[in-house]
């Protein structure tokens, strides 16, 4: 029987999900404000298949930097 801490048991030390490079991007839908059309819409990440997407996380609308 394999046990943790032995060479043969190394595969049991799986990392927790970290949303890191090579991971699937978690799918989501969210309300959004569209500045150009000045309206509130719903955005689904899945609708962006076929395009490159930048998820640009920022701390707060009203801030200094």
């Amino acid at each position: 029987m394999k046990s943790k801490g032995t060479k043969d048991g190394l595969e049991e030390y799986t990392q927790p999900y970290c949303a890191q490079t090579t991971d699937s991007a978690p799918l989501f839908s969210a309300e959004a404000y569209e500045n150009v059309e000045q309206k509130i819409t719903k955005i689904n990440l899945e609708d962006y298949r076929g395009k490159w997407v930048i998820l640009f996380f920022y701390a707060s609308d009203f801030t200094f930097v």
């Binding site: 969210a30 569209e34 150009v36 998820l55």
Partner: protein
């Protein structure tokens, strides 16, 4: 935010969409675009992550503040995370690095070449030939 708006045309050219995400409400986003000179220029949607579910899923929630970290995540056309940059709390990002990454990723996929450190889009990549191993 304004810095990304300034390179938006170049991102479009690279078949790239921007989704800006914070834990503010869409109502806050609306007022933000109305009163902030920099936010008034954004051409991309501002998403609301009021429940923190998105920022938690992407592991970029700052639990001390309830806001997200300053993170830039690039997702490829197949839906895989190909880059994740998390910046310091007090330093803004370099949008030219975002452009460079997209150019480099697309160059590498098109040519099969590797892309070295400090590569710029007018430079060649590295051909993956075993005879070059240890010679570069």
């Amino acid at each position: 935010m304004a810095a990304v708006a300034a390179i938006y045309d170049q991102l479009k050219y690279l078949n790239t969409e921007v989704l800006a995400i914070s834990t503010d409400s869409v109502y806050s986003h609306k007022v933000f675009t109305e009163v902030s000179p920099s936010a008034s220029k954004v051409q991309f949607p501002l998403l609301s992550d009021r429940t923190h579910q998105i920022s938690k899923a992407y592991r970029v929630l700052n639990e001390k503040t309830g806001a997200t970290f300053r993170a830039t995540i690039i997702v490829d056309p197949e839906g895989t995370i190909v880059s994740k940059l998390v910046y310091p709390l007090e330093v803004g990002r370099n949008v030219y690095e975002i452009l460079r990454l997209l150019q480099a990723l697309q160059y590498s996929r098109k040519t099969g070449e590797g892309v070295p450190a400090n590569w710029m889009s007018n430079q060649p990549g590295i051909v993956r030939d075993p005879k070059f191993i240890g010679r570069i």
